[in-house]
């Protein structure tokens, strides 16, 4: 066990180093001078010079990297030049919002996607199957921002049922929080539901035609038990893998939806930072996400190691 962990850790450290160089290096390739954009419209040369020196922009690349990496090693991700707030504080402020949004969106996606997938598989080539396919195609082809605005116009402006945008913490007002989250979560979940539906359908079709399902049916089992207990359980394995992957995308890919619904999450943080060339924020957020992915991956590997005796050799 110790040997395995040491082996894994030994690969993680160079990975992290490589990721950090990549993040830092790629950002340097962004066109535009960060000091110029951060100095604002007055373009004051003394302000630009000050920004250059505080951001170490006048130093060579390795020195700049060393300043930043040194801070990261000490747990200091730097400070937003735009609003003068530590990057770590910003991350911790936004992360729960995006996590909540991603979780609700995932639940919606699973409920709609898996249900529709199962129905269209068991009622293959029926009206239900076609209807589910049309809905899935619609979900896949509708752009998030358009659907978002349409939902705002219907549910907020015309019907007045839900708040048009914004965010309330669940600890302040749970009802308000859910009311604010339901539309953006649906918009996000909608596209994923379509993907999940297609995969569930094909996985179910495959499983339903396998021998053990036929055996189960031959034993005289109730069709509901066959579908839910025997077929769906097995068909779910690839769905879970896909869901997990989609969840990862949700964390970083909710940018447009967050923008439309003014949800102060991760996506909005990083997009605004890129446009304002707030380097410390961009680097901090990407580094944080990369580290989280690597750490989660390690946990999964360790879990797998513990669960699978063959690996322990």
């Amino acid at each position: 066990m110790f040997h395995y962990l040491a082996q894994r850790l030994a690969t993680i450290l160079p990975t992290l180093f490589f990721v950090s160089v990549l993040i830092f290096g790629l950002q340097q390739l962004l066109p535009g001078d960060p000091a110029l954009i951060l100095a604002g419209e007055d373009n004051d040369p003394t302000v630009i010079a000050h920004l250059r020196s505080t951001m170490h922009l006048d130093e060579p690349f390795p020195v700049r990297y060393a300043y930043w990496a040194g801070g990261v090693l000490k747990g200091d991700l730097g400070e937003s030049q735009r609003i003068k707030k530590p990057v770590l504080d910003l991350i911790l402020e936004k992360l729960p919002v995006t996590l909540e949004l991603a979780c609700i969106a995932m639940v919606i996606a699973l409920v709609i996607g898996v249900t529709a997938g199962v129905i269209s598989a068991i009622a293959k080539d029926s009206v239900w199957d076609y209807a589910a396919n049309i809905v899935a195609l619609w979900g896949l082809s509708t752009p998030n921002f358009w659907l978002g605005i349409m939902m705002i116009l219907l549910f907020s402006v015309t019907l007045g049922w839900l708040p048009a945008s914004g965010y309330v913490s669940p600890f302040e007002d749970l009802r308000g929080n859910l009311a604010a989250m339901i539309m953006p979560a649906f918009v996000l979940g909608n596209a994923i539901a379509a993907v999940l539906m297609r995969h569930t359908r094909s996985a179910m079709l495959q499983v339903l035609s396998s021998d053990y399902v036929r055996t189960a049916r031959a034993k005289g089992l109730d069709e509901r038990v066959v579908v839910i207990k025997h077929a769906l359980r097995n068909a779910l394995i690839p769905i879970i893998t896909l869901g997990a992957l989609e969840f990862g995308t949700l964390l970083s890919g909710a940018v447009l939806t967050e923008q439309v619904f003014s949800i102060p999450g991760f996506g909005k943080l990083i997009v605004d930072a890129v446009f304002n060339r707030d380097y410390a924020v961009v680097q901090g957020v990407v580094m944080f996400t990369a580290t989280a992915y690597i750490a989660l991956n390690l946990c999964a590997d360790v879990g797998y190691f513990l669960a699978n005796p063959r690996l322990r050799g």
Binding site: L36, L38, G40, D42, P45, V47, I83, G160
Partner: protein, 504 residues
Amino acid sequence: MRACSWMSRLALLLLATFAAASGAQTLRFGLAEDPDVLDPTLARTFVGRVVFAALCDKLFDIDEKLNIVPQLATGYEWSADSKALTIKVRPGVTFHDGEKLDAAAVKYNIERHKTMAGSNRRGELAPVASVDVVDPMTVRLNLSAPFAPLLAQLADRAGMMVSPKAAQEAGDKFGVKPVCSGPFRFVERVAQDRIVLERYPNYWDKGSIFLDKVVYTPIVDATVRLANLKSGQLDLIERMAPSDVAGLKSDSRFKIAKITEIGYQGITINVGKSDLAQKNPLGKDARVREAFELALDREGIVQVVMEGEATVGNQWVAPDNAYYAKNMPVPKRDVARAKALLTEAGVSNPSFTLVTPTTSDAQKIAQVVQAMVKEAGFDVKIQSTEFATSLDMADKGQFEAYVLAWSGRADPDGNIYSFDACKQPLNYAGYCKTDVDEILTRSRTAREKAERQKAYDQLAAIALKDRPIVYLFHRHWLWAFTTKLSGFRTIPDGLVRVQGLKLN
């Protein structure tokens, strides 16, 4: 009996709380962007100034007609040689931490603006050489040279006063929890989500404040901002899209307010910033630039780009501005004359690239201009690039023509000096002429309006013919708000004054 009196007390208390709650006036204000740091010395964005209007009072303010009116100052006096400005400080003003505003605090603030690392106010206060405390409530600003725009600078961020005690304690983190002397004090800020301010009970002019709280919410998309207003999530939104005006006018629940901005939209032409200036006919030959301007139909541009929600203009100030040079009116479109000029210049089909940021207005301007000047023979290629990149290109002179907007300053100097004087930071055109520099210096050192007007007339006669910038129009600031809101004033700087605002 005892229980009874307790219950009645409790009921009274509940009633009082309920009454207070129902009477509490919270203004929910939708902003077009998330402001930057809330420190008047370091702040750089327009949208930050919208929040400052409620948070930080200034020595002076401007009114609807751009007149300078006192705010934290009660009066001022220029010395005979115009090199010293004596300001009387308003008595009885306190900062949100209870500290008093006096001459020493004003001195501290002006010096902070001038010396703090990264200060964006240093340039605005450059001519201020020193500050003297004359008596506890009088301060004198000594200038290295006469500087007419100083009062207007003090009516903006350079005139904002923050608590010296709080500023010393917080250093460059002051903007995280600003302490000023405005009608509202800072409560909290969640970046990209909200900024909350509450009424400051000891405000010097509390009789003019009827709101209890102001909550600013940045919503970038204009359609979503409007949807929030319509669904009752917001009471007031700024910068509504011109295309939404017609639709909202028919809705009796809302009002629209508008005023022409003090800034402008225009096209900057590289006439000397880099080698590129000499490599294309537009930068090289003033006749080609004249032909370019003559090929433009500004009315048409305003109709197509802004749906009519802008004022046509050809100068750095709008035609209704007191300093507009009447000797240079807006030229009419004349394609035949434009073609003749091009023939005279020996380039019948001049070609150049027009760089534009990816904002919707700028892109529409570029497309309309491209189509219009084509009729005169111009071949314009449009290069759309994200704002930070386009700004970098402009600064390095990597452009031939560039669509650029300026938010504007109350004094005309703020709209022209840095753009047309040699080697100034905003002179992206690379325009440099000694006679223009001399007139520009005169326009800022002369104090009398007539004398300044004369200088600007002379300047217009030269610069508008050289055309380092072709000015197109001045947008309308557009606000929409619920009819429950009263007391709204439109000021050309586009900032919302909270004094007098009431929610009925």
